[in-house]
């Protein structure tokens, strides 16, 4: 792999807080190595801003290995940038060449309000999980782990759904700001396992109600969420969510208060 250095122009969304209007600022960044990650490039920008006595760009990030789901940038019109199955932190600068202009925006959705610069509030996802994204089993209630064999294919499928990291790229990419992919991943994860069966009906009804309450949009099966999901969560999960919903509705599942 050839290494090289580049100079770039960044257009970054700056917004002081939730209540003020934001705007784009243009910053040049110099001597960026192709081996850097995208966030390391932002680090370089921030170091230079601090050196000039300015406030650095606030952005969400933590593990920087693509698993915590914290990082969240809309880069040149793509959630998490152009790489397939990749979070922002795993995007590397060899994607870019000298002289490129990169526009960086926060996730945009009313349900993900901007807190500052590129930082958004995604607590709505937690509240969707609170509505039913769990198995009600208190500590100490469990039977032996191998008492209940689970078909490997189902376990694998459940795992694939559970791989969701809750980053919100699905909502950010969706023209309707729907959170169906996120929600369907949780519903699928639990619906595919016998452990999740007893609460199946109530779970889907409650979660969907909370989804709507949070102001997320309706899914119209566009598929941008699947294309942008860094963990490859499939649209089939949304199909399963719909089935679960239909089954729960027609079988008369009841929603909690």
């Amino acid at each position: 792999m050839e290494h090289y250095h580049m100079n770039l122009t960044l257009k970054v969304w700056r917004q002081k807080n939730k209540n003020t209007a934001g705007r784009f600022e243009t910053y040049p960044v110099q001597n960026i190595s192709s081996e850097m990650s995208f966030l390391e490039m932002i680090d370089v920008l921030n170091e230079s801003l601090v050196d000039q006595g300015q406030e650095p760009v606030a952005f969400d990030h933590d593990c920087r290995e693509g698993i915590c789901g914290t990082c969240s940038m809309y880069i040149n019109g793509r959630a998490h940038g152009p790489w397939h199955h990749t979070t922002t932190c795993q995007l590397h600068m060899r994607e870019y060449k000298n002289g490129d202009t990169i526009v960086v925006e926060p996730w945009r959705a009313n349900s993900f309000p901007v807190l500052k610069d590129l930082v958004t509030d995604r607590s709505s996802f937690d509240r969707i999980v609170q509505a039913g994204g769990y198995v009600s089993v208190n500590t100490g209630n469990a039977v032996d782990a191998n008492a209940l064999p689970i078909e490997k294919a189902k376990a694998d499928e459940s795992f694939a759904a559970a791989a969701c990291i809750g980053c919100g790229a699905c909502v950010a990419a969706c023209p309707n700001t729907s959170a169906m992919l996120f929600m369907s991943a949780k519903v699928s994860h639990l619906a595919l396992l016998p452990q999740g069966a007893p609460e199946r009906k109530g779970r889907v009804l409650n979660m969907v109600a909370q989804h709507d309450h949070e102001g997320f949009g309706t899914c119209t099966n566009i598929g941008a969420c699947e294309a942008e999901c860094p963990k490859g969560i499939s649209l089939e999960n949304i199909a399963r969510l719909n089935r679960e919903y239909v089954a729960a509705t027609f079988a008369g599942g009841s929603q909690n208060a």
């Binding site: 792999m1 850097m36 680090d43 593990c63 937690d126 078909e151």
Partner: protein, 660 residues
């Protein structure tokens, strides 16, 4: 110097926990509702504790600096979680897990705690499966296991390369359920900045709301620190960017002793540093050592491409040095061996600070098995390799993909370059058998405490310990303490102790903002990391440690006179948050060096160059150092005070650790 009481129950090892559980004090349900508990950190330990305590009926307040409890760094654990289930019928037992952990920890862990850990390990798997954690399964529908470094049985449960994530999501969901039920109040984007003590007991915290910058006072009948490890003191580590020692350090300054701070784990299989810009290091799961072979060229400064180096000119140094365990030796051993080869000039890659982790023979082996499984008869080598790659992709695909994203190299074609990196800290707040620190009512769980891994942690044991502490230990031991607190009314938030702590935090924040110097927080952190890695890293010596202590003190002085923190206190200010964390690291780093200097022996992750065998293996000094070094905060710019907890081995005999 005094001797510490670890409060290990009397009686035979295997009955201690059972006896404790049957005799500890209980709190009745009506009283539980009146007792408030503060949990700081929502990783495996914190989330499991908060959820379980909520289920029991306590009023819990949980805090995390992340925007959601689901993002705690436990999520990044890849490989797996150990449990003495013996599902593989390969001779595993509670005792063996206990023994392996004690031995892996190089005989510097407490027998009673470790045995309890091994005992409850099986229940963790049961609990997680019941929550819907999608562990890997066999075609028969039963759980699958794999082996991990430092053991000879298959006791590791896993969910592809995302075990930590799946376990954390399980605990997170249990936690969110309690939030929905009103038993837990969640405070995300909050950072704990002070422990509040009233009459010598922990009674609350001061936390900063990271979004508004507001300082909040929270009362609790007990405070649980579950804030993880402090590997980020090295700047570069496999920890998340936000991982910090702040909560534990504030607890330490409030009177909690810090146990074995110098015990840090350097993980052998990480992606090497590529340049000065590097912000963190990425771990490649230890499970890769199950199938990959580690080697360097036999010739020094060999610049040929790995493919051009013939088999006989390769040095599979782990297999050579440790024939019994080969590539599966414990982490400290594997890391030191890599460092030894690189220091001797056999390293590979541009920096020469890397060794190869090669999958070529595994691909061929799996390919051949697949060909015979499918009865394909005679096929050419290319076909065997193609099939082998498929098998390897199924097992390790996500890890290989990650490697390729970071390095731009295809690990199916060319061996991966790896080098050790800081990964885990065995040291932490000193706790007794009940996980209580030296401050009554102040507890430490998971990586934040020091208790179970001695001087080196075995792979797949961190997840086990975090969940053991949270799900199965603290719910009992906390009750034992709180049973005497049922008459304690909530302390008013206007109590002088709260007011004073609040003012203290406020002053410190203003101090950061008012230095108005020239250097960024980040640059101080980098300088500290460099000192720590070079002088208190994989190998340490007396002179280096003394230099490090001097350098850290100087750096700390410079920090307080020349740091620049932009922005304001009353807003979302990541630089301010970082400043607080780095300031604490600057104090902790010194303590780590002092501890490393005090421990004149090599054990586990702590390798003092003066103490090694002729073959370069760690040399313990059991007669002098079979103790836990618990350090008491001595005050600003004063020496810390050492307290010792003697380690009494009643069951295990101390021997030189051998993996040959």
């Amino acid at each position: 110097m005094s001797s510490l009481n670890n409060r290990i129950p009397e009686g035979p090892l295997e009955q201690k926990w059972t006896k404790y559980k049957s005799t500890c004090k209980l709190v009745n349900p009506a009283n539980k509702r009146k007792l408030e508990i503060i949990v700081v950190g929502t990783g495996l330990a914190g989330a499991s504790a908060a959820a379980t305590l909520g289920e029991l009926g306590y009023k819990v307040k949980a805090f995390c600096y992340q925007d959601s409890p689901r993002r705690a760094h436990s999520i990044a654990a890849q490989g797996g979680i150990n449990a003495a289930k013996n599902y593989q019928n390969d001779g595993d037992s509670t005792y063996r897990l206990f023994y392996d952990t004690i031995k892996g920890g190089d005989y510097r862990a407490r027998e009673g705690n470790v045995y309890r850990l091994a005992e409850v390990s099986a229940s963790i798997i049961d609990q997680c499966v019941a929550q819907g954690v999608p562990f890997a399964r066999e075609y028969g529908g039963l759980l699958s296991n794999r082996s991990f470094g430092g053991t000879q049985v298959q006791r590791t449960f896993y969910a592809a390369g995302q075990t930590g994530q799946q376990l954390l999501i399980g605990a997170y969901q249990a936690l969110e359920r309690q939030v929905a039920l009103g038993n837990v109040t969640m405070y995300a984007r909050h950072e704990m900045l002070e422990v509040v003590k009233v009459d010598g007991k922990a009674r609350g915290i001061i936390a900063r709301n990271s979004v508004t910058g507001e300082l909040e006072r929270h009362f609790g009948h007990a405070v649980l620190i579950c804030s993880g490890g402090y590997g980020n003191v090295f700047y570069l580590s496999t920890n998340a960017m936000g991982c910090n020692v702040t909560a534990a350090w504030k607890a330490h300054k409030a009177g909690a002793y810090f146990g074995n701070p110098c015990f840090t784990q350097i993980h052998p299989t990480c992606i090497p540093v590529s340049g000065d810009h590097q912000s963190k290091l990425t771990l490649m799961s230890e499970s890769l050592r199950n199938d990959g072979r580690i080697w360097v060229p036999k010739a020094q400064n060999d610049t040929r491409k790995p493919k051009d180096i013939p088999e006989e000119e390769r040095d599979y140094y782990l297999e050579r040095r440790y024939p019994a365990f080969g590539n599966l030796v414990p982490r400290d051993v594997a890391s030191r061996a890599a460092k030894e080869r690189c220091d001797a000039g056999y390293g590979v890659g541009a920096s020469k600070m890397a060794v190869y982790l090669d999958y070529a023979s595994a691909i061929e082996r799996y390919g051949a098995i697949e060909v015979s499984k499918r009865g394909m008869g005679n096929v050419d080598k290319a076909e065997i390799i193609r099939m082998g790659k498929e098998v390897v992709a199924e097992k390790y695909g996500n890890l290989f993909e990650m490697y390729e994203k970071i390095t731009g190299e295809n690990p199916y074609e060319t061996p991966m370059r790896i080098y050790p990196a800081v990964h885990y800290t065995m040291g932490g707040l000193w706790v007794d058998y009940e996980l209580m620190t030296t401050v009554p009512g102040l507890y430490a769980l998971g990586e934040a405490n020091f208790s179970d891994h001695g001087a080196n942690r075995l792979g797949a044991s961190a997840l086990m310990q975090g969940l053991a502490d949270g799900y199965f230990v603290v719910p009992y031991t906390l009750g034992n303490y709180l049973a005497d607190e049922i008459a304690t009314k909530p302390v008013s938030l206007d109590h002088p102790a709260f007011v004073e702590a609040h003012q203290h935090v406020e002053e410190r924040i203003n101090r950061f903002l008012n230095v108005k110097g020239k250097r960024s927080v980040e640059s101080f952190h980098k300088s500290l990391g460099k000192i720590m890695w070079e002088k208190c890293g994989m190998a340490r010596n007396e002179q280096g440690l003394q230099e490090a202590i001097r350098d850290i003190r100087a750096l700390r002085n410079e920090f307080w006179s020349n740091v620049f923190v932009p922005g304001e206190a009353a807003e979302l200010n990541p630089e301010l948050e970082k400043a607080g964390r780095v300031a604490d690291f600057l104090e902790l780093g010194e303590l780590m060096c002092i501890d490393a200097l005090n421990r004149n022996e090599s054990c586990g992750g702590h390798f003092r160059e003066e103490y090694q065998t002729e073959e370069g293996e760690a040399l313990r000094q059991d007669d002098l150092y079979t103790y836990v070094a618990a350090w008491q905060w001595g005050g600003e710019n004063a020496e810390p005070v050492l307290h010792k907890e003697e380690l009494n081995y009643e069951v295990v005999h101390l021997t030189a650790r051998s993996y040959k």
